[in-house]
Subunit: 433 residues, 2 copies
């Protein structure tokens, strides 16, 4: 039996340095858990000359990835370098060399996850990726193990901390979107180019990973319906509040006999729903299982130490498997063929905010468009137009298909008295109330 | 390699029948996950003549436990019979016979957990107990695996659904304690004799299990400070609300260099804290890790199918270990010696509600008692007495030790102008605000 496990670390940014710190701080606990020492023996960095505040010796750093991948004494690779193609190649080479891999890279896992997991299976290596979604929240493990015997029917998640921080500030402090984004950037929650966050791309990648696992099928990024923060119009957050809802950029994935549906978009969540209380940069995923019912996992969605905690948790699992000779023994092959639901099979309630000319009989005219499409209305509110301004009409529908929703919107747009459709939202999670 | 795993089920109540249902419903998924069939081949029941609505064949039922324990073809025992001594013996015999055990029995695990886990280690068998705490919430697994590399500094949990249901009704619907308890009984959330729930004993047992695991030490039931629902006095729930708090019966466990402190008692939780939004029969545990920061796991704390989901999750893990020949390979020996904090090392904020004679200078007199004990006050409110009624004084303190809290209360009780101490609470989780 080995008496130490050597780890090669690819990347030494916030997560990588956090991993080194945790391994150093918790060496004694890890020894107790595993019975061996876990040592970071090589670290890939770009700039060898940079001074680093780290417990690691200077001589472990290298800028030559092959020095790590070709080192037979290294059992486990931890990929925290980021990027897509380079990271993918590094993971492939590691697995081919028979090394287990732990990655925090959602971009790689969203695009190449199924392919890499197959490669891991073929090479009898572990490939763990807990930190790729939800930072410090043990989501992947819970779905793989904790709910192993349950059939997950849907999951709804706040999986992007930046946009949740922005929406929290907009609601709680009446900040404008621009001010809230500036604040997020100042506090380090938003990147210099925040488009992947605010356009919903980051959340979509995470939903691909979660939905693939939850439904044991190969969900692809193109399967995800994505609408970003720009769909939220002035006044929407307050309007939602007046109806008892909170606007969240949420991912949603569901599966039934008609297939899967995955989306990321701003939605209305009822204020009593636990997801409505997920504030600031926190993340949470609400899971509906056939047997377990509703479960929610909540925690920090990003950050150096939370993410490093998930990485190190994976490292412990991978080390344990290595020591027991059971690495790569868990099959990742998807159980179900990928089948995406058509729009007439995706059901939800919807919120429509429409600007109309302030004429007699407008409401009747618009309501009839809904009934023509078989859509029934739960709430209809008309705010009378002030001088030279159009009137505003709000419709909240009962459950209807996305096809009905789009057909109604399309016909509304063509209608004379409609000046514009200001905004529209799916209403999430109303079924539990 | 085996092509099936035979399971003996001890008990066929709500959880046991739920397990049989899940195994039957998900046989295909289980086969995919494990590559073998999982079969319940024997079930211990008291009454063989009773008609049962179950997918199992009639001939699997027996009322002779030895028929199960002595059956060499049975690899895994699932103990869902309840009770303490009988269940303990059954688990012991199973482990001695080399069979893995999955149990949902918090009573046994709270009292005999360390002893049984040692026996499991000695016999190289798995002993899993996810369902013993938090029903369908994967708490044990998250602490064992997900946060494996983190140092848990404290956890606060709503781990009893009955009392949380009662407190939710008291707050949201202004029900009296008696009416809320009657409602809980009617809905099946409270047992005929609810004392283990309302006195905090059930929660204390769960906290023993969670704290032992979180801190890798053998916490005992006698280490837990327990105060039950009867400490909540008329008007306390509304009073808490007026100060921005929610009253919850919460378990709390913390550890630092001075040792551990574990308690179950009614506490004030700030309304913005995620635990304040855990309503009705739901459970949640808020975990503070040195690295991960704050994580919360939320879900159904009881119920046939949620609990059975956790049991079945454990069964899958145990079966996987059996198939891979790695059962019982994880040491459960506690890493740290048990050391309980003294009252002068347990710090918190406190809420004191005191009935006083309505005299001039009362407030000054009482405040001076706090300062004499080095306790500083955050809030002082006096409600003037109405005719023939005493005045009421509320103190909310800054952080102080439990010793200071008890010393102050003791001295207040001895003070002439104090008619009585109506109630007192620890204020939980204020540090995060």
């Amino acid at each position: 039996m080995k008496n130490e496990i050597n780890v090669g670390l690819l990347g030494f940014g916030t997560v990588g340095s956090g991993v080194a710190k945790i391994i150093d701080n918790h060496q004694q606990d890890l020894q107790h858990k595993l019975g061996v020492e876990v040592k970071i023996t090589k670290v890939l960095v770009r700039d060898l000359t940079r001074k680093r505040d780290t417990p690691l010796q200077q001589d472990v750093f290298t800028n030559d990835i092959d020095e790590i991948l070709n080192d037979d004494s290294i059992d486990l690779i931890v990929e925290v370098m980021g990027g897509i193609e380079g990271a993918k190649e590094a993971i492939e080479s590691s697995l081919r060399a028979g090394k287990g891999v732990v990655t925090a890279n959602k971009d790689v896992m969203a695009v190449y996850g199924p392919e890499l997991l197959r490669l891991a299976d073929d090479n009898k290596c572990d490939l763990f990726y807990e930190a790729s979604v939800g930072g410090g929240i043990p989501l992947i493990r819970t779905m793989e193990d904790g709910l192993a015997s349950d059939r997950i029917s849907s999951l709804t998640g706040i999986v992007n901390g930046t946009t949740n921080f922005i929406l929290t500030k907009m609601k709680q402090e009446n900040m404008s979107y621009e001010d809230a984004l500036a604040k997020a950037t100042e506090l380090g929650f938003a990147e210099a180019d925040p488009s992947a966050d605010v356009d919903g791309i980051d959340a979509a990648r995470k939903m691909v990973i979660l939905a693939s696992l939850a439904f044991s099928t190969e969900v692809q990024l193109e399967d995800v319906l994505v609408r970003g923060m720009k769909e939220i119009k002035d006044g929407d957050v307050e309007l939602a509040e007046s109806f008892g809802y909170t606007v969240k950029l949420a991912g949603h994935a569901e599966k039934d006999e008609d297939g899967i549906a995955v989306s990321v978009e701003p939605v209305f969540i009822p204020d009593g729903h636990p997801l409505a209380s997920v504030h600031n940069e926190y993340n949470a995923v609400y899971i509906y299982g056939a047997a377990v019912g509703e479960t929610m996992l909540y925690g920090p969605g990003a950050g150096s130490l939370p993410t490093a905690t998930s990485v190190t948790g994976d490292m412990v699992a991978a080390c344990r498997n290595l020591l027991l000779g059971m690495n790569g023994k868990r099959s990742h092959s998807p159980q179900h063929e990928r089948k995406v639901k058509s729009d007439d099979k995706r059901f939800s309630r919807y919120f429509h905010r429409i600007l109309v000319k302030d004429e007699v009989g407008v409401l009747t005219q618009l309501s009839s468009i809904y009934s023509e499409h078989g859509a029934s209305l739960a709430t209809v509110i008309q705010h009378p137009g002030e001088e030279e301004r159009d009137a505003e009409v709000i419709f909240i529908t009962h459950r209807m298909s996305r096809k009905q929703h789009l057909d109604v919107l399309h016909e509304l747009e063509e209608t004379e008295v409609v000046s514009s459709i200001v905004s529209h939202y799916r209403v999430e999670g109303d079924e539990r109330l």
